[in-house]
């Protein structure tokens, strides 16, 4: 990264404030649609932080996958379950929220002291920052080849699983015929018959 240090510090501060504010908005706002759009803001701020960390490819992937796919998917889900419902109030809810806030602040304090107390072995060798995509590609096709292929299998399984889970099938009520008695042990939800048979 060949920006001046002051520029880096200032942009880090702006991105950090944007990210934390948007994340708090995601968690605390009442309207779920605002939360979804603020989640996009969180993702874009994190992408900017990745650019500050000399990772151009991962920043682009973050924008493409998170803002372009995950956030749009969440918006679709919000539109599909678009139901105004007043949640029934639960007794002693503030106790739960207070306890959770306490635990979270404690966890933050613990992590902060750990981060600040550990002597990190920072590597100060300077490399040319323009070759991250070449490095990542070399890793993908040499020592991370098996996880890379497994990731493709995982994506395929997730796609098939999501389609099966979200599909809505109405099975019509019919009288049992002889063919149905024969196929009684098969699954009731099955793909449509091929047109020729």
């Amino acid at each position: 990264m060949n920006l001046a240090e002051g520029v880096q510090i200032v942009s880090f501060g702006i991105l950090a404030v944007m990210m934390l504010g948007a994340a708090l908005g995601v968690v605390l706002l009442n309207q779920i649609v605002y939360s979804a759009f603020l989640l996009g803001g969180v993702f874009m701020s994190i992408s900017g932080l990745y650019i500050l960390l000399n990772a151009d490819f991962v920043a682009a992937a973050q924008i493409l996958i998170y803002v372009g796919a995950v956030n749009v998917l969440i918006l679709f889900a919000i539109m599909l379950v678009n139901k105004k419902e007043e949640f029934k109030p639960v007794r002693n809810r503030w106790i739960r929220q207070g306890a959770t806030a306490l635990v979270c602040v404690g966890l933050l304090a613990l992590l902060s002291t750990m981060v600040l107390a550990t002597p990190w072995a920072v590597d100060t060798t300077t490399v040319n920052a323009s070759s991250t995509i070449i490095q990542i590609g070399k890793h993908f096709f040499s020592d991370f080849l098996l996880p890379f292929e497994l990731a493709s299998v995982l994506l395929l399984m997730a796609m098939v699983g999501a389609i099966i889970l979200a599909r809505r099938d109405f099975i019509p009520e019919r009288k049992a015929t002889t063919t149905e008695v024969e196929t009684a042990l098969t699954l009731p939800e099955r793909p449509r018959e091929l047109s020729g048979s």
Binding site: F12, V27, I32, I65, Y66, A101, A162
Partner: protein, 103 residues
């Protein structure tokens, strides 16, 4: 004064805590999924910070981040499908009423 590793780690820790808070306290099921995404992004931020500051030659942290992004995308798809199915069955997305297996 230049960017330190600690800044990014502290930022990741703060984002993680916000995500935990949202995961536990929110009642809308979609918001729970959003909190999970926040958690995964906090982890990604940590990985990228370590990759840049401790291992700038072999950037294995960035490779890990790409894998985490892949798994997060799959998780979001399956999770939202589960929420749709549960919404059709129970006609609500309130986390307090998903108590079929409770007690």
């Amino acid at each position: 004064m230049e960017l330190q590793l600690e800044y990014f780690l502290l930022l990741g820790a703060a984002l993680f805590c916000i995500g935990i808070y949202g995961l536990v306290t929110s009642r809308n099921a979609v918001r729970v999924l959003m909190s999970v995404e926040l958690l995964l992004n906090a982890v990604n931020l940590n990985l990228m910070g370590f990759s840049n500051f401790l291992d700038p030659v072999e950037i294995k942290g960035q490779v890990f981040t790409v894998f985490v992004i892949t798994v997060a995308a799959a998780e979001a798809a399956v999770g939202l499908a589960i929420i749709l199915a549960i919404y059709r069955n129970r006609d609500t997305i309130d986390m307090e009423q998903f108590n079929l297996l409770k007690w």
